[in-house]
Amino acid sequence: MAMEQQLEQLKQEALQKIDAASSVKELNDVRVAYLGKKGPITDLLKGMGKLPAEERPKMGALVNVVRETVTTQLESKMAQLEEQAVNEKLAKETIDITLPGRPVKLGNHHPLTRVVEEIEDFFISMGYEIAEGPEVEKDYYNFEALNLPKGHPARDMQDSFYISEDVLLRTHTSPVQARTMAAKKGEPIKIICPGKVYRRDNDDATHSHQFTQIEGLVVGEDIRMSDLKGTLALFAKKMFGEEREIRLRPSFFPFTEPSVEMDISCFKCGGSGCNVCKKTGWIEILGAGMVHLNVLEMAGYDPTVYTGFAFGMGPERIAMLKYGVEDIRHFFTNDMRFISQFHRTEA
């Protein structure tokens, strides 16, 4: 059976060459050499005519088996070589992944805006609206409507920037409360008023002639001092951490009675005493009180039916405490190296 032997020999040869091929090209040469139209297998098939008729089917089948074996082996080797080629290519494409990425151009909030929005968002979640008003204000709304009659020391020319006898740069955001009450006559109120305010101060590390305030006002039937305390306690926890305790100390503001100042337990040392709380364990955060009945009356509220509370704080002070900023002037110098530090979340 010379032909069978020949076939077996061809198969072995082809498989060896496939195995030895080290590139797609070599392998393609092998394919052409053995399976091509001029290849030995084709020749064998052509030569089948010379065989006796009864042997032809057997031989045909045999040739096909060899052909399939070689083809299968060839394809498998081809896949292997292709993968190898891809891997080599990819290996060459390796980059230094420690090189820095392409910077995303992104700015951020001023730290004061960050603090103000955080406060706004807390009170919005408690059902407050934001009220705004003019920065140049009438003496009436800035002082008189807030129980600071003419002649009161707190409205001294020395402390305020007057434009005329009756107009000045607002010294606090409280006139927004007075305006809101006058506008909402008789309706319950729940607002916070953020904004810029101005005082006659020489700019230094702790004073600024322009700064920010955020005040709150709640007016309704049966608003109690305990409601003020509860609201402020929630605020302190939200703003400064769940473990914060608050304490109220009696104080004085012309537009509230009783008036208080609120301290929170120090968020740095937790109350044991450190440089932030000046070793007292407590940090003064805001002033507050029950709306003075003169203020309610002047705005047209019946103080026997309506009561209210108000509170006010300085975002500069809060930002200084929270972020450890030592000089209030940093907020207004607009040094890129300062502002750009306030980009990331603290959540």
Binding site: E135, I163, L169, N202, G220, N334
Partner: protein, 803 residues
């Protein structure tokens, strides 16, 4: 207010509590104790010494060799003070002594002579120079003759004292006196207080015979009490009195003046002492000043009076500026023998005005301004008379010379315990409320379940029910107030649309690479209108603190550029800042300026800076324009906004555009004029400012989704050669008109000026996208429409299709 705890002990027992604890309790009850000053801190080994002899140092002109008896021994101490002399009792710091500032006293040799310590001045003991009696200000302090050598000097000088520094709120003027403090501390500690007992022997002579009184200005001066004390011997006050005054921060002068100051501090009632003989007329007339009238005050300043100011006169000329300062002509001096004590109620507004006009604030004026206790005016005069009799050997004439039309009735306040509890959200029993008011020595009666309170006149801050609620609550303890939340209908909170959009604008600008700045609203007159979109009369301060902050801004850019310069000067080459804030324009009908919210931005330096990728791009006009286009897009205004070439002061004439919304100018952007850049030490800098109020007031269309395209679009590019001055915008308009409904988008993708284009011309390339949402367009349709576009460009603009 400095409260000496040694002095306080005269009225109340505070032995059971440490000073720190006392301070804490006072603070929690409402008066903030700012600091606790231990006067003995850092002082050690100081004794009374007696200078046995004092001789010149042979080797040093200014030094004296003193032999000082310090009790058990006599030590040689070298002293350089000019006033040291044999026979004096002094304060000796022995070897091993400690003085303030960590000074240690050691045995030493001075020019060959041994010195076993130091003879001290009061300043060396930590007493402020301004309260040291004048005669000892430049040398050592001399103790009274009865001081015993060897005794601890701290006790003798009252330095074994702790001072509580009060930071008083304006309503608590009652605590501007030691007695007021005693009432407060008594209430806090539930301790009784001991008031001064006033008794002295009167002469048979009547004060009214020696002095007459007329008050012409009754409103300004509703009460005036004068007492006459004769035969006084003006001398140094006893040490205890000097010590009390120095502890309170008041400089001792002589026994007469010191008594008036003591009573001021004890009662909170300012007094004045006149030299009776210097008054000359035996008469006191209180009246308003005359315009242009002159007087010389105690500080030797000549003052010109006006008709608003209240003066005390001798019937002819002013002898004191009422409630503010005495006159030099009637001042008590060493030779004074007869003294007139003045105790009066001067109306707060009157004293306030006078004090402001003459620029003088004194311990007296600050108390009058807040209103003194009407019921202690007469008593304070009696107290002073008693002390002048005791300490200056004076004889008090019988009775007082009095004018009195002052209302002294206490304010009656009736309130129910329910009302108190309701307002506080608490359940304090009525008994407890009564007890608290009694501790404060506020007269209270329970009548038919109501509290009937007569607020004492020393507590001018108690006027309405809420004032008493505060008293009850602060002594009951604010810690006892529960934490509740307002009950009742809850309404959703939130931002209004303008507030929401302002936040959106800020976030957008930041995501576009800008950092938020906050600058001052006050600026200089010169800069106030630079770059303003709209100018109007400026709003000017009446009394600016400086020219730099004297008017309100009409543009945000000057300060924003100042910030850019600040950064660049610190080698921060790339600056990208924006600000939102108000500008102030003219005056509206309500008398206030129109406040308009603006947004502004400044960029300079590199916009793209990725060095290792060799990508660096400096800022240009189109960076800023892109930011604005994006802003208009998020606000839904893109289709309503156009940009028009513009020229403005301070801006580059060829690189400036107005931002126009529905035909009205609402902002501008562009490059700073090179001369402006130079003036501000900036390189190429681009700015924009926009009227945010106008922008945010615009209603935008509701957002309705358009179907995502189901059919393909077809793009055609064209390159046109046009004269240089032809704008891309006008070409786009022509393209859009001709392209009609099938043209979905047209965008510029190339701009070329140079060798390959005819001089005075440029090449602009556009990409046009054709699309029909209903079906797939055929080539023929697109070609037909595109030809229309080309034709329109040719006929309407003279553009030549580039080959």
């Amino acid at each position: 207010m400095y409260v000496s705890t040694n002095w306080l002990k005269d009225y109340i027992d505070i032995s059971g509590i440490s000073k720190a604890e006392l301070a804490e309790k006072i603070t929690r009850a409402g008066i903030e104790v700012d600091s606790i000053i231990d006067r003995a801190e850092g002082l050690k080994n100081l004794v009374v010494g007696h200078v046995e002899s004092c001789e010149k140092h042979p080797e040093a002109d200014k030094l004296n060799i003193c032999q000082v008896n310090v009790g058990e021994e006599t030590l040689q101490i070298i002293c350089g003070a000019p006033n040291v002399a044999a026979g004096q009792n002094i304060v000796a710091a022995l070897p091993g002594a400690r003085l303030p500032g960590g000074v240690k006293i050691k045995k030493a040799k001075l020019r060959g002579e041994v010195s076993n310590g130091m003879i001290c001045s009061l300043q060396e003991l930590g007493i402020e120079g301004k309260v040291v009696p004048k005669q000892y200000a430049e040398g050592i302090y001399v103790l009274p003759e009865d001081a015993v050598p060897g005794t601890n000097a701290l006790g003798v000088l009252g330095l074994d004292d702790v001072i509580l520094e009060f930071d008083l709120t304006p309503n608590r003027s009652d605590a501007l006196s030691m007695l007021g403090v005693a009432y407060e501390v008594g209430a806090i500690l539930s301790e009784d207080i001991k008031l001064p007992e006033i008794s002295y022997t009167e002469s048979s002579e009547q004060a009214a015979d020696a002095l007459s009184l007329r008050v012409d200005a009754k409103e300004d001066n509703p009460m005036y009490v004068a007492k006459v004390v004769k035969d006084v011997k003006v001398a140094e006050s006893p040490l205890w009195l000097q010590n009390y005054l120095m502890a309170a921060g008041v400089r001792p002068h002589n026994n007469v003046v010191d008594v008036t100051n003591f009573v001021l501090l004890e009662y909170g009632q300012p007094l004045h002492a006149f030299d009776y003989d210097r008054l000359a007329t035996k008469e006191i007339v209180v009246r308003r000043g005359e315009e242009g009238e002159k007087m010389t005050t105690l500080d030797d300043a000549e003052r010109t009076l006006n008709a608003n100011q209240l003066v005390i006169t001798n019937g002819k000329e002013p002898v004191a500026l009422a409630g503010v300062m005495g006159g030099a002509n009637s001042e008590v001096h060493e030779g004074t023998t007869t003294v007139v004590i003045e105790s009066a109620y001067f109306a707060p507004a009157s004293v306030r005005q006078t004090s402001k006009e003459v620029g003088l604030r004194s311990d007296a004026s600050t108390r009058f301004e807040k209103g003194v206790d009407p019921n202690r005016v007469a008593e304070a005069a009696e107290r002073a008379a008693q002390l002048m009799a005791e300490l200056a050997g004076g004889t008090v004439l019988a009775g007082s010379v009095v004018f009195d039309e002052l209302d002294k009735t206490p304010v009656r306040i009736v309130l129910s315990p329910d009302y108190v509890n309701h307002r506080l959200g608490m359940k304090i029993p009525m008994d407890e409320m009564v007890s608290i008011l009694e501790r404060l020595q506020i007269p209270v009666e329970a009548v038919n379940g109501q509290l009937v309170v007569d607020a004492p006149t020393r507590r001018q801050d108690l006027r309405i029910k809420e004032d008493l609620i505060e008293e009850i609550a602060r002594l009951y303890g604010y810690d006892e107030i529960p934490a509740t939340l307002p009950v009742g209908e809850s309404v959703p909170g939130g931002l209004n649309s303008s507030q929401q959009k302002r936040r959106l604008v800020r976030r957008y600008l930041e995501s576009a690479g800008l950092y938020q700045a906050i600058t001052y609203s006050l600026t200089s007159r010169e800069e106030s209108q630079s770059f303003a979109l709209e100018t109007a009369p400026v709003t000017e301060l009446l009394m600016p603190m400086s020219e730099d902050h004297s008017v309100l801004r009409q543009s945000l850019l000057p300060h924003l550029l100042e910030a850019a310069t600040y950064n660049v000067a610190r080698r921060i080459d790339t600056v990208s800042l924006y600000e939102t804030g108000s500008v102030f324009l003219g005056t509206e009908a309500d008398g206030l300026p129109k406040e308009v919210n603006h947004a502004a931005a400044v960029i300079t330096g590199k916009w793209v800076d990725h060095k290792w990728q060799q990508e660096t791009k400096t800022v240009d006009f189109f960076v800023m324009k892109g930011i604005i286009e994006g802003l208009m897009d998020v606000l839904g205004l893109t289709d309503r906004v156009t940009y028009e070439q513009a020229a403005h002061d301070g801006m580059h004439p060829g690189r400036t555009a107005d931002i126009v919304l529905d035909g009205s100018r609402i902002g501008m952007l562009g490059q700073l004029h090179p001369s402006e850049q130079k003036k501000r030490d900036l390189k190429e800098t681009y700015v924009m400012e926009i009227n945010l109020s106008a922008l945010l007031a615009e209603q935008t269309e509701p957002l309705v989704y358009t179907q995502v395209p189901r059919y393909p679009s077809i793009s055609r590019d064209i390159a046109l050669v046009v004269p240089t001055e032809e704008s891309a915008g006008s070409l786009i308009t022509v393209i859009q008109e001709a392209g009609g409904d099938l043209l979905k988008d047209v965008s510029v993708f190339d701009l070329y000026e140079g060798d390959n284009v005819e001089a005075g011309h440029k090449s602009l390339a556009f990409s046009l996208t054709y699309f029909d949402p209903e079906r797939t367009l055929t080539d023929e349709e697109v070609v037909a429409r595109h030809d229309q576009v080309l034709e329109a460009l040719k006929t309407k603009t003279g553009a030549v299709l580039r080959g």
